[in-house]
Amino acid sequence: MHIVSAYDEDLKFLAGRVAAMGGMAERMIENSISALVHNDAPMAQKVIAADEQLDAAQREIDERALAVIARRQPLADDLREIIGSIRISSDLERVGDLGKNIAKRAISVAMSRQPVKLFRGLQSLSELASAQLKDVLDVYASREVSRLGSVRDRDYEIDAVYTSLFRELLTYMMEDPRNITSCTHLLFCAKNIERMGDHATNIAETIYYVVTAEQLPAERPKQDRSHDVTVEVDD
């Protein structure tokens, strides 16, 4: 509580907008994957249009946060809270961009249908990423940072699934060069989803810092082994 109640209003506004952005970003991930899997072009268009709102929300948060810093000169908790909202909103905005990119690719992939199997892999990857984002944003609401423990585990899981998908897509491309166009699109979609998971992890770190004033312990196992995946051509 502050003596100036408008200050409280400002902080509450920032948190509310961040949560609203989170809701929009979660919805965009969900819809973009659904557009991709179900070959749904109108849904993809909707996602592309929704990105605009997310951008606007981020600008709004930036401006309000700057205004609060200039006017109230916050310290300690409040300062962390405000900086946190700027950082989280920029992560969420990136998540929205990635969702928009998936939606764009969904329209191109729709031209040539791929085996259902490929989409199943992407779907389970996206489920992991949205679970990650939801858990993290729930902690933003409840401030129970002890729940952030599972975030690292899931990040590891996402990376492992991504690497496996990468390999699978390469195999498909080698089987038939006609698959290359759509498989490349799917590969980028998978990469985008994996990046969403990373942004969620970033948000988790920010929240931990905002609440405890300490950095989340820094061990961060890198499990994305796709950089050294090669597939041999056997003749």
Binding site: K12, A20, G23, R120, S124, S142
Partner: protein, 425 residues
């Protein structure tokens, strides 16, 4: 005895007078001051002044504060209040079977009833309702409510994790002047799920049944044409067709059991299951299959019971699937180990069940994905072992309903270990 009674009565009467006096103190003081004021400027005898002072004080102490009529009216109103008005909001909320959340004008949650606590987890009082329910529709709903729209239209709200659930949310303000608002969540998952399941089932079934069907129709064509008079080929083809129809039957069984599982509404299992007994039973039922495969089952199960909350039938299916897989795909190892142990020494802790085989193992890149539907590490191997590609998907689904986890460790050439971590009571 009667003497103490009298003292008691006197004491309570004195207390009553004292209360009345203290309640009326300002009026009494004003009266005393004005009497003294008048007395100071007139020639009235001090005796009369003293009498009137005593009179004022006595009257203040003796006359009841509220008139008889008002008292009677209040008593009547209280009698008419009935049990409903006297009920506390908290008790009322507890009696509602649907999740219900009360929040105040600033959007902070004031009260969460038990079903809401179970459904949404981290929603303790003090959490901002707009931070917890972030979907754009919910944001709009809460905003409309807080800005004075008394009864905005209800919205749909879906929670995808840990288990997909759909709600119809209605919102309204509670009474005038209380400044409280209520959200009521009506669970509609069942309806939605039935719809989606039907679509999913058809999609999966048509996709997976097409391969065996195509091969059967191919063989029928051959039997009618070139192989019409070749008894050797006929027998061979009929054998293959028999296998294919058996595969289709298994596939349909598995698809059905998966969609049955997904259809059942999510309830936290209240049943308690002795995991040692259950695993022992599963081993006994699969002994024959293991013998046929030439696999020896080695068990390491403690003799005392370990109880966890869970659904008996579903957990039996989990361990049956895991053990069957181990016997089939780990056949070359000739041995399957099954171990039950507590996660910690604490009797409240969960339990870990490990099924380990010594077969060829699972390559790294497949491990994170083996629980996906129809994902097969080796399509040929799966076909010969009569796998449907759904066994582990079923396991994963059941475990997520139990808040349990499955970890898979494997090294190529050394076998695989599947560990189920079931949470304790």
């Amino acid at each position: 005895m009667s003497e103490t009674d009298t003292t008691e009565t006197t004491r309570s009467a004195l207390a009553l007078y004292a209360t009345r006096l203290s309640e009326a103190r300002w009026v009494v003081i004003a009266a005393i001051v004005s009497i003294l004021f008048v007395a100071a400027f007139s020639t009235v005898s001090w005796l009369y002044v003293a009498i009137s002072l005593v009179g004022v004080v006595t009257a203040a102490a003796a006359v009841p504060r509220r008139s008889r009529m008002r008292r009677r009216r209040e008593a009547r109103a209280h009698a008419m209040l009935g049990p409903l008005e006297r009920l506390s909001a908290e008790r009322l909320a507890a009696a509602v079977p649907d999740p219900l959340i009360l929040f105040d004008q600033t959007g902070r949650i004031v009260h969460v009833n038990q079903p809401a606590q179970a459904a949404f987890g981290s929603t303790s009082p003090g959490v901002d309702v707009q931070l917890r329910f972030r979907s754009p529709e919910m944001q709009e709903l809460v905003r409309a409510l807080l800005s004075g729209n008394d009864r905005p239209a209800g919205v749909d709200y879906a929670e995808r994790l840990p288990v997909e659930r759909h709600y119809r949310v209605s919102a309204s303000s509670v009474g005038a002047g209380s400044g409280l608002y209520v959200l009521v969540f009506k669970d509609q998952s069942e309806l939605r799920r039935v719809d989606r399941m039907r679509a999913d089932f058809i999609a999966n079934a048509s996709h997976e049944l097409r391969t065996p069907l195509a091969s059967i129709s191919g063989f029928i064509e051959t039997l009618r044409g070139p192989a019409r008079d070749d008894p050797g080929a006929r027998d061979r083809f009929l054998e293959i067709m028999n296998n294919q129809t058996a595969r289709m039957a298994r596939l349909i069984d598995d698809l059905l059991s998966l969609s049955r599982l997904e259809m059942k509404s999510f309830v936290n299992p209240e049943e308690r299951v002795d995991i040692c007994l259950l695993v022992g039973g599963v081993i006994d039922s699969l002994n024959q299959l293991a013998k046929d495969a030439g696999v020896e089952i080695v068990r390491a199960i403690p003799s005392e019971p370990i109880e966890v909350p869970g659904s008996r039938d579903e957990l039996i299916q989990v361990f049956e699937n895991l053990l069957e897989n181990a016997c089939k795909y780990g056949q070359s190892g000739g041995r399957v180990e099954i171990a039950v142990e507590r996660s910690d020494n604490d009797p409240k802790s969960g339990v870990d069940v490990t099924v380990r085989d010594f077969g060829p193992g699972i390559p790294d890149e497949h491990i994170p994905r083996v629980t996906e539907r129809f994902y097969r590490v080796d399509v040929e191997e799966s076909r010969t072992q009569k796998g449907t590609g759904l066994g582990l998907a079923i396991v994963k689904h059941i475990l997520s309903r139990h808040n349990a986890r499955l970890t898979i460790r494997s090294k190529v050439g050394e076998g695989a270990a599947f560990t189920v971590h079931l949470p304790g009571p």
